[in-house]
């Protein structure tokens, strides 16, 4: 994860951001210049709901070096309470204790570590609530 990218994506990753279109009133994720539904430019940044439920989850044991420090971990498809779906890790838990449909809430965790000398990437994950 390169420095400019970490900086550019920080608010979206730390806060969980989407947009609200003032024309068609759709909420979408992530932040874009145009509404993906109606192409309007009249979009406003919004904070996504901080709670949601698990639609699917599975374990990841092998991924890029930058994310191996936390492996094996659980990756989930989460439907937030505002209807928006995101991909995020479900942390501080074991697969055996999770079920589709369970409630989760958003937390702030380390996503990546670029070796011992590189940058640390942070972002949103979920924990059972």
């Amino acid at each position: 994860m390169e420095p400019p990218k970490i900086w550019r994506e920080r608010r979206g990753r730390y806060l969980g951001l989407g947009i609200l279109c003032h024309d068609c009133k759709t909420k979408s994720f992530p932040v874009t210049n145009y509404c993906p539904e109606c192409s309007s430019e009249k979009v406003e940044e919004i904070k996504l709901a901080q709670t949601g439920k698990i639609l699917h989850f599975t374990k990841v044991s092998q991924t890029a070096d930058e994310m191996m420090f936390n492996a094996p971990y659980i990756i989930g498809l989460i439907e937030l309470n505002d209807g928006i779906r995101v991909t995020g890790q479900i942390t501080d838990t074991k697969s055996e204790d999770l079920k589709d449909g369970m409630n989760v809430k958003m937390v702030f965790r380390v996503l990546s570590k670029n070796g011992e000398e590189g940058l640390i990437g942070y972002g949103f994950k979920f924990v059972p609530s």
Binding site: F29, Q62, T63, A64, D65, L77, R85, G88
Partner: protein, 393 residues
């Protein structure tokens, strides 16, 4: 659309597997040269090279199409086509359009890949991360395998597909691969082996995914005009349908995980171009990077109703010479998956089958054959349909 018919007149394919002593351009030039010899044409007739390769122009390999062209003494326009894992079929589709339009009359299409230099699987996962939403899926922690695990779960939840049904896909494909001389794996593997294996991303087991490897494959596409000018050149198959369709990149933006919209749309358009229906297809090479890949394919291509792909497979309806022969080559699973080469390898299997050259894998009475190649989790799907030209004679 123009009435210009297009044909395949030659093909060449290397063995697939881990080939540490073969460099990328040697593999590619071998496939190209084989195709030219197979077509029995002079290389001077070739007017263009289209190639697909996921890894070309990464640090470990050169812009392989250019280097391979130099080694084959081909001085032609070269286009690299990138559609991730579907780069081979995508290059084919672009070349098809160039020939169909009448702008070019003879094109070599190459699919080539060398993955074995990347000994660290972390690097391969990162490369495959480029075929999904790198920013909001991969960097959030998802991998291609974990997303296919979700798709498998969705299919199991919605259609009661079972682990046995899923495992029957690689069982069949390994059995078929025994009779494929260029396949990476040529031995059968039992259902128990697949079912007992550790889950790497539940419900996907350790032996379920196709293995990435090295290999190259090439075909030569020519126009009607070429065929009329060179009547001694044998037409090996007619391209009757070719289509590409796209879908949202990230699974969190899709409306369903148990069907690939891109395959449905691409196949509909390809059938329409060919003026045929799914029932007319006797043989199909589909993208079984994971077992669910084949089950989704045979449903979304219209061979079986949605939700019945697992049942059809375990009941043997996709074996050689049954209702429809699927992945007679062994599929990605047994043949191996050199990402960019796979799409062309699939097409070559169809061409060989149409020409009765498939030996112990041979399917009888083929009128139409189909090849389906998928990028990542289905952001792009390519469907190419070929005929045996009997109706034309």
């Amino acid at each position: 659309m123009s009435n210009n018919e297009t044909f395949i007149v030659g093909y060449g394919i290397t063995k697939f597997g881990e080939q540490y002593s073969t460099n990328p351009s040697s593999s590619a030039s071998t496939a190209i040269t084989s195709a030219i010899h197979n077509a029995k044409i002079s290389k001077d007739l070739i007017q263009g090279l289209y190639f697909g390769s996921l890894l070309s122009n990464t640090n470990l390999q050169p812009f392989v199409g250019a280097e391979a062209a130099r080694e084959c003494n081909l001085n032609v326009p070269i286009s690299k086509v990138d559609a991730g894992n579907a780069s081979g079929a995508a290059a084919f589709h672009q070349a098809f359009m160039a020939v169909k339009s009448g702008l070019l009359d003879c094109i070599v299409v190459l699919g080539t890949e060398k993955t074995s230099d990347y000994v660290n699987s972390s690097k391969i996962e990162q490369i495959l991360g480029g075929t999904i939403d790198y920013l909001w899926e991969f960097e959030q922690g998802a991998t291609l395998t974990s997303l296919y695990a979700w798709m498998t779960q969705a299919h199991m939840n919605e259609h009661n597909t079972t682990l046995e049904q899923l495992a029957s896909v690689p069982v069949k494909n390994h059995r078929n691969g025994v009779n494929n001389p260029i396949a990476q794996y040529r031995r059968e593997i039992s259902l128990e082996r697949f079912l007992k294996a550790k889950r790497i991303s539940d419900p996907i087991g350790r032996f379920d995914p196709a293995t990435h490897c090295d290999g190259s494959a090439a075909v030569i596409i020519v126009s009607d005009k070429f065929v009329k000018q060179h009547s001694e050149v044998e037409q090996k198959a007619k391209i009757v349908g070719s289509a590409q369709a796209s879908d949202k990149l990230a699974l969190h933006h899709r409306t369903t995980l148990s069907s690939l919209m891109a395959t449905k749309v691409a196949s509909k358009n390809a059938y329409s171009m060919a003026k045929i229906a799914p029932e007319d297809i006797s043989i199909a090479e589909v993208h079984d990077s994971y077992p669910i890949g084949e089950i989704l394919a045979i449903e979304d291509l219209g061979f079986f109703p949605k939700g019945e792909g697992g049942k059809a497979t375990i009941e043997g309806k996709t074996q050689i010479n049954s209702d429809i022969s699927v992945n007679t080559s062994g599929g990605l699973k047994a043949r191996g998956d050199p990402f960019g080469a796979t799409g062309i390898a699939q097409i070559i299997e169809i061409v060989q089958q149409i020409n009765g050259e498939a030996d112990k894998r041979q399917v009888d009475d083929i009128k139409f054959g189909l090849a389906q190649n998928v990028m990542g989790t289905g952001a792009s799907s390519l469907v190419n349909i070929f005929s045996n030209m009997e109706d034309d004679k």
